[in-house]
């Protein structure tokens, strides 16, 4: 089974993080939400693999409050 890469996979993580924040510069909260959604859709299409995407959806949701009906998330230690 293909697994979502969760070890560091970026040559320059700080550069990416900065670029991510810069992308949102000057946007309203609403516009930022739209831009984030577009980013997710672009990346998801690039990945394509349904199993990888399923894992990403699951991991993203882990440990977030209000997960009514959520999976058997591990206790936050």
């Amino acid at each position: 089974m293909t697994a979502l890469v969760t070890d560091s996979n970026m040559a320059a993580p700080d550069d990416f993080y900065e670029a991510l924040l810069e992308m949102h510069c000057g946007l309203s909260e609403n516009d930022s939400a739209v831009v984030n959604a577009k980013l997710i859709l672009l990346l998801a299409n690039h990945i394509g693999d349904a199993e990888i995407l399923r894992q990403a959806l699951q991991f993203a949701r882990e440990d977030v409050e209000g997960s009514a009906g959520g999976s058997s998330a591990a206790d936050p230690a």
Partner: protein
Amino acid sequence: MSPAASALQMKTYANPVYEYRRVAEQDGATARRGVVVVGAGPVGLAAAIDLGQRGIPVLILDEDDTVSVGSRAICYAKRTLEILDRLHCGESVVDKGVRWNVGRVFDGAELAYRFDLLPESGHRRPAFVNLQQYHFEECLVRRAQELEGVALRWRHKVVAVASHADGVTLRVVTPEGEYALDCDWLIACDGARSPLRSMLGLDTEGQVFHDRFLIADIHMTSDFPTERWFWFNPPFHPGQSVLLHRQADNVWRIDFQLGWDADPELEKTPERILPRLRAMLGPDATFEIEWASVYSFQCRRMQRFRHQRVLFAGDCAHLVSPFGARGANSGIQDTDNLVWKLDLVLHGKAPEGLLDSYDAERIAAADENILNSTRSTDFITPKSAVSRTFRDAVLALARRYPFARRLVNSGRLSVPKVLDASPLNTPDCDRFAGAMVPGAPAADAPVEGPRGGWLLDYLGGDFCVLTFGEAPGATDIARLAAWPVGVRVVHVGAGAHAACTVLTDREGLAAARYDSASGACYLMRPDQHVVARWRKFDIDAVHAALGRATAREGTTP
């Protein structure tokens, strides 16, 4: 769908009035009937025509004396037209209706993308024909009236039903009083609010969507192309969606999303409808409202479609939102699936258990339709802020990037269910490519042959083997024909025996669509679905597959 209201006088159409007739049962006759159909809508009529063509006498009871009041269902899919061809009313529906293959989706005022539902040629029927439901029903009534064994009883309303292991008893009310009617089998096609379902204490399960829509059918001369146009958030109806379809006789269907808070009584009034139309069509457009209705919709189905000798088909068995045209189209596939099975059971050629496959196959189809319809609804009516954000993100991306166009969901338009999990199928033992898997509805292709220019003209009605490459020999052809469930042979290519139907595939499209370069033999069901296939014809393999396809595995078919 549940119309909250319909009003206004139609300008282009006057409903026919079918005559109520007194029948023998009202004067004490008690003859038991074989098959009774309740409901003379598109689904009930299709069922009765199919039965009539098979020489099975059938009675249709309808509480009304006319066809649909107002247009309602308008989009008839390719598969429905192919089924109607077998019922000899495809041509009249296509002639009266308007054909379309192309849809456009707009985001605001701008085109987000365009799609073609039938991008390849070599099919007799287009992706869709739009036709007002009343015209559609009239075509089917005319066909039913041609058939000797089909009796239509208008203003005969079923008011009580009792179901037994071996039949059904009905009480029927007419303008001249009541009578009782016994039958062996009852096909319930009495619509979304099915009185029969309620009288039998049966229910449907599913969900109601919190949104309301205004349907307006207008008469207008316009040079809009014959395409499906869908707007998300158009400038003339901000924040909501709008759908435009052309119908016959210059009647146009416009569907305005109103939101859950809209007042259905108020929204159906011309004072509310006209400004919406004016905003959309411009100050100079001339049009007249034909019919209008405000509705909300649901996705739900019965747990089972067969209850002893009562078989539910169409909207009474399953309901979907109108986005995708999966209502009437799936109902007609229901009866296409059901009637050949009932025919074999009635003639003792298959056990009653064959009808359980109607349940299995059409429930799988209903679930597929409900899934698609629910997903469309989630896109058209986002249920949360984040769901709206993603919807708007998809639309924005779709203008530039092809990948996002496949995420836009303004309705996934009706395609027939591939019955790939059917218990009637024989799994492949040979390797095949392409779409014609066991359970798939047969692909059409242009051919030359004795009875017409399309492959589907030669399939259906009864079982047949469709062979490419090496043809079966005379002895095998005779044996297949002599089985109680007889099997015809249709051969594509040269060198076949005169006892089978021989077709020429000049363009090679049949060969390509059936992946037959190295020879192929398909066993086709009476409803034109593939049920088994092999690289070479083998009579024992056909025998076994036919036994399985008629629910009498291991016995003589």
